[in-house]
């Protein structure tokens, strides 16, 4: 991720991923159809289909011919491990950069983290 | 070709409603004359002269309203032309039948009141009860007026102001038809100079001229609309 460009289909994909991560969508559960997503977001169904295709490529969804799209049984695990990989680059590094920019000593940040862990 | 049932029916229903209202109005005027004056002439005969202008309007509306509607609904100009021609060919006799019915109802009324139903000007028919002749006269007249309206309507739709040039042609068509039934055309503003052609009177010639005028008019209208573009803006 080098920029914050988020075409609508990526927003949909992110939405579904978030649902999978917080288990609002479970493995082997059917997701809403392309047309339902298109109607909900008021977008062209081809755009919604693109979001689904992206998720199929990433192994989050799989297609059952003639029935629809389903959440892969291991989707949550796949997403969790991928997010773990990028967690430091996506979350921690920018946080450290921000802390430096506004003059918070890193020791304070670490202290806060330890404090939170204790809860 | 598909029969233009809805186009014809819409025009007939509208004409019938107008006719009913018009008839009531004429009866009211007739009663007024009988009460406040002397009634010894047919009032219907004079009143129905207005209906020619209605016929003209029908022709204008065909091109101005229905042609764009047909094309916008994916019909071709050719399909519209054919349907409009059939519509006019059937609508004109319907309208003349309404004229004849008007005369007959008036006859009943005058007979009840014991008044003479005299005619004020020259016609194909000598008596209002000569139904076939009444029908023919108005048929020839309406065919010409409708087709003249369509021609002038098409002219203005296609060329805006340039449509003025189609007016003399329209008038020519009407004069020809009026000549065929032995009457003269009196136009507003031009009342003092009656336009007329004198044709020898024979029923065959009347019908022939009437039909010829109609066909000539159709041909001219087709020449104007056969590739007419729909206007991007009205007015």
């Amino acid at each position: 991720m080098f920029d914050d460009r988020s075409p609508i289909y990526r927003q949909i994909a992110d939405h579904i991923k978030a649902d999978v991560l917080r288990e609002a969508l479970k493995g082997d559960e059917q997701v809403m159809s392309t047309n339902q997503y298109a109607a909900f977001y008021r977008i062209n169904p081809a755009t919604a289909a693109k979001a689904f295709q992206q998720l199929v490529d990433e192994g989050v969804l799989f297609k059952k011919r003639g029935i629809g799209m389903f959440v892969s049984p291991d989707a949550r695990e796949v997403l969790r491990s991928r997010h773990r990989e990028s967690f430091f680059a996506d979350v921690v590094d920018p946080m450290v950069a921000e802390a430096k920019a506004i003059g918070i000593p890193l020791s304070d940040v670490i202290g806060r983290i330890q404090e939170l862990e204790g809860r | 070709m598909r029969f233009p049932s809805r186009l014809l029916l819409a025009n007939m229903v509208f004409a019938l409603m107008l006719w009913a209202g018009f008839f009531v109005l004429v009866v009211a005027v007739t009663v007024g004359i009988a009460v406040f004056g002397t009634l010894n002439e047919s009032v219907w005969e004079k009143a129905v002269q207005v209906t020619r202008w209605y016929a003209l309007f029908v022709g204008v509306a065909l091109v101005r309203e229905f042609l764009p509607m047909y094309i916008a609904h994916g019909q071709t100009r050719r399909q519209f032309g054919a349907q409009a021609a059939v519509t006019v060919a059937l609508f004109a006799p319907f309208l003349s039948a309404l004229m004849a019915v008007g005369y007959l109802l008036e006859t009943v009324l005058y007979n009840l009141a014991g008044r003479p139903q005299a005619l004020g000007r020259a016609h194909l028919y000598a008596e209002p009860t000569q139904v076939p002749l009444v029908l023919i006269e108005y048929l020839v007249e309406f065919l010409a007026w409708i087709v003249a309206g369509a021609l002038v309507g098409a002219g203005f739709y296609r060329w805006q102001g340039g449509g003025l040039l189609t007016i003399p042609i329209g008038v020519g068509l009407v004069v020809l038809a009026e000549g065929a039934i032995g009457t003269e055309l009196r136009l507003p503003f031009l009342g003092s100079l009656p336009l007329r052609v004198d044709l020898p009177q024979s029923l065959a010639l009347t019908l022939g001229t009437g039909l010829g005028t109609f066909l000539l008019g159709l041909l001219l209208v087709w020449a104007v609309i056969r590739d007419v573009p729909l206007r991007n803006r009205l007015s």
Binding site: F2, D3, D4, R5, S6, P7, I8, Y9, N35, A38, A39, Y41, R42, I43, N44, P45, A46, T47, K50 | S5, R6, L7, A10, E65, F66, P68, M69, Y70, I71, A72, H73, G74, Q75, T76, R77, R78, Q79, D227, P229, L230, R231, N232, R233, L234
Partner: protein, 288 residues
Amino acid sequence: MRIDVEDLVLRYGDVTALDRLTLSLEGGKIYGLLGRNGSGKTSLLSVLAAFRKESAGTVRIDGQPVFENAGLTRRVSLIRDVGETIDIGTVEDALYFAEWLRPNWDAEYARTLLDTFGLTPKAKVKSMSKGQRSAMGVLVGLAGRAPLTMFDESYLGMDPPSRYAFYDALLADYMAHPRTIILSTHLIEEVSSLFEEVVIIDHGRLVVHEETQTLLSRGTAVTGPAEQVDTFTHGLTVLGAKQLGPTKSAMLYGDLDDARRRKAVEAGLELGPIAMQDLFIHLTGEPK
């Protein structure tokens, strides 16, 4: 329906509205036709719908010429704000003829849409408000279910709730009855998410024909210190730029590869998307 337009010219007297326009649409999609006033949108749609005969060039729909082709034109519908299909007495009268002339007319759907747009069957169309007239036109276009359905600025005068009701109905009906739909509009932000492909014309010529998402990905806004922005954008297609103090924002058009993106980020530049509306404005030039 497949549309192939080649070197299409349309003249109104001395005015050339379409100037050798060439365009192919494969059909079965929702297309957005964008262009400024007088760019030739209405002219193009009018020729596609056989409202007008082309002055030169060829126009084919599903491989056939269009003008006065009865078998083809019955499958094509164009709704313009002139109101050809609706200015025929009352709402009921217009539906009476639409039902009779449109081979795929869905009367039940038309009644549903009357409710959606709050139209009364007995109302006289010519005395309705602009917005209601537009809604009436939209209704006739939707319920006609023509395999090629085109709307030319059909939203004119419709208030936002009615417009969104139209977008929703259009999308739902397109998904239920897939067909080729072309929408011309100025309200780009509102409708662009409905388009699968976008066609932009200007001065009677084709400027862009692209998949919507691809077109959007072509546009990039680069923001940062003016000097860095200038260095980065050197040699690239810059559609426009604006400056606020030391900060400059430039709009780039064209694909940016990952290497370049990385370079931008390293130089402390921010990359962002450009809205369809802005792309359109910059692709079609100066204010008039």
